[in-house]
Structure formats: structure tokens, C-alpha cells
Symmetry: C3
Subunit: 118 residues, 3 copies
């Protein structure tokens, strides 16, 4: 069936592989006391850790959908984001405001990535 | 061109196939008098029916993006969702709150799936 | 690594190609004085221009995620959308309301498309 799942619990797989493409479910920060810069950093590093588990890194991201809880956090999100990606390796992205399930989350990201050649 | 479309009307295809991947448009319940459990069940079964039309089922889902109209429906959504997937076969998922086009809809899902081997 | 990026700036690629699939980041209108019909037209034509840069057109779209700022714009969005696609070539789509980053934007679209045979 050509589907490989990673980080499996009853409710979801954290990452799914199919046809050389990796699909990562909604990622949020566990340290919800952190401000937007801290939460953004934790989310991006968490996504990278998932990619590293299959031999990839941040440069393999294809798309990131960003859901931001508060408009005033947009500048802080971008400060961390822009520093995270080496020039020429940022994914396609879209960012809108959204009410997140846990009001303590200030940002959630949904990503897809290319499977690195193994 | 290698694109196959299913459930075609002027405005959209209900499902599109490309490169062994199935893309399903936003799915909602037609019985909008149902509560969150009823609407969740109808949406999930509707998605499975689309997959069955190409020889698949719920275990072929790769990702589901869940848009929930009301935060207090989160527990009911998850009760139906968790019972729906055999352990180890749930997709990557992300769930946020959103205002849906028809205020009678309590949940909308957008899914991708793997084409079963035929 | 098999990732090709188009329209690259520090923050993002406007379009990314991987495994015969094109991923387009969030597209909005630059003429924010336009009404919903004008903004919808500009966004759809902007997406088509990206596809034309790799030899495609509107019929190569697989999915479009529509984020609409105001419910009362739904009819105007659909008037332009329905006229845009030749019958049988519309993508899978999902449309919900969302608060967009710039309050002058009335619609944002996130698209995926099939790479045309070259």
C-alpha cells in the first residue's frame, strides 16, 4: 500500500510518507509559557526533528501552512522564521489567523516535505 | 496530463487523482440537524465512500485537515474519530477552529489519500 | 534532492516543484482597493501566471484552498470562480472564512497543481 507512518498513536500519525512526500500533522509548542518567538522556534525545530528521523532537514520542506492566534505576533513569527531558513531553501508558505484548539498555543504549523534520497 | 477527476460539477471536482495521490475537497454533512458526533460520522463515511470508488478505504488516508466551528465540539469530534480508525491507520491530522460557510455545519474536513494499488 | 523552487525570497518560495506536483504558497491581490470579484480575478490569474511559467495553465490545478475574509463575499467569489474554469477542469476545493493577515485582503488562495508533461 506504500504508506509509512511515524509517531503513531490512536488518533493520528505524526508524519506519513507516500510517493516520496512526507506529510506532517499540526505541530504546536509544548512550552506554552513561551512567547511567539519561543513557540515558533520550538515548532520549527520539532518539524526538523521529524525530518531528521528520515535523513532530512529544514531544506526539505515543500510547504508550511502557518496558523497564528494573534495578529500582533506576526512580526515575531517572521523574525524567527526568516532566521531559520538558509536563503533559497524556504518552502512555499501561507499564514492566516485562526483560533487554535488550546488558547495557550500562539502558532500551529502544518508541513509537507520531500523525502531525501536515501 | 495525468489528472483524473471524480464527482465533477462546474465549481469543483469532489476528488482529484494525480501521481498516485488523491485530493478530496472540503467535505461537510448534508444532515445539518445532526450533532457533532452525527456530522463527524457522516463526513468520515462520505470520505470513505469516495475512496471506495477507487478501491480504497479509511486506511488509505494520508492527511485530514479538520475545521471545527465550535470549541465545545472537540470532545465529540474525537470520540467518533478515535473509534473510526483501526490502531496504526489514522492519518496525520490538524484541527483548528474556523467559521464555516454554512453556519449549520459543525465540522468540515479536507483530506488526501494514497491511491490503492490496482 | 529533487526540489525546484520558483519566486524565491528570504521568507518563501512562491512555488515549489517536487514529484511532478507544484505547491503554490498563499496568493492574495496586490490591488486591495478592488472588490471581491476584482481580488478573486487577480488571485486566480496570478496562480495561472505561475503555472504558465512551467508550461501549464488553470486546467492543471489539483486543489485550491480558499480563505475568505467576509461571508457576504461568497457569491461574488463564486461568480468569478465559476466563469474561470472550463467545465470539467475545476480543482477540488474547500472554502472557509478566515481572518487574513492584511485586513484589506478579501480572499487568499493556496493551490497545488500537476506539472504539465514537458
Amino acid at each position: 500500500m506504500n504508506i509509512e507512518r511515524f509517531g503513531v498513536v490512536q488518533r493520528r500519525a505524526e508524519m506519513v510518507l507516500h510517493a516520496h512526500t512526507l506529510y506532517i500533522g499540526g505541530q504546536v509548542a509544548s512550552d506554552t509559557s513561551a512567547d511567539i518567538e519561543g513557540q515558533t522556534r520550538e515548532v520549527l525545530l520539532g518539524i526538523e526533528r521529524l525530518l531528521e528521523s528520515v535523513g532530512g532537514d529544514r531544506t526539505h520542506l515543500l510547504t508550511v501552512r502557518i496558523l497564528l492566534a494573534r495578529r500582533e505576533d506576526y512580526a515575531g513569527l517572521n523574525r524567527v522564521w526568516d532566521a531559520f531558513f538558509p536563503f533559497g531553501h524556504a518552502p512555499a508558505r501561507a499564514c492566516t489567523l485562526a483560533e487554535l484548539i488550546d488558547p495557550a498555543w500562539r502558532v500551529e504549523m502544518i508541513a509537507t516535505a520531500a523525502l531525501p534520497n536515501r
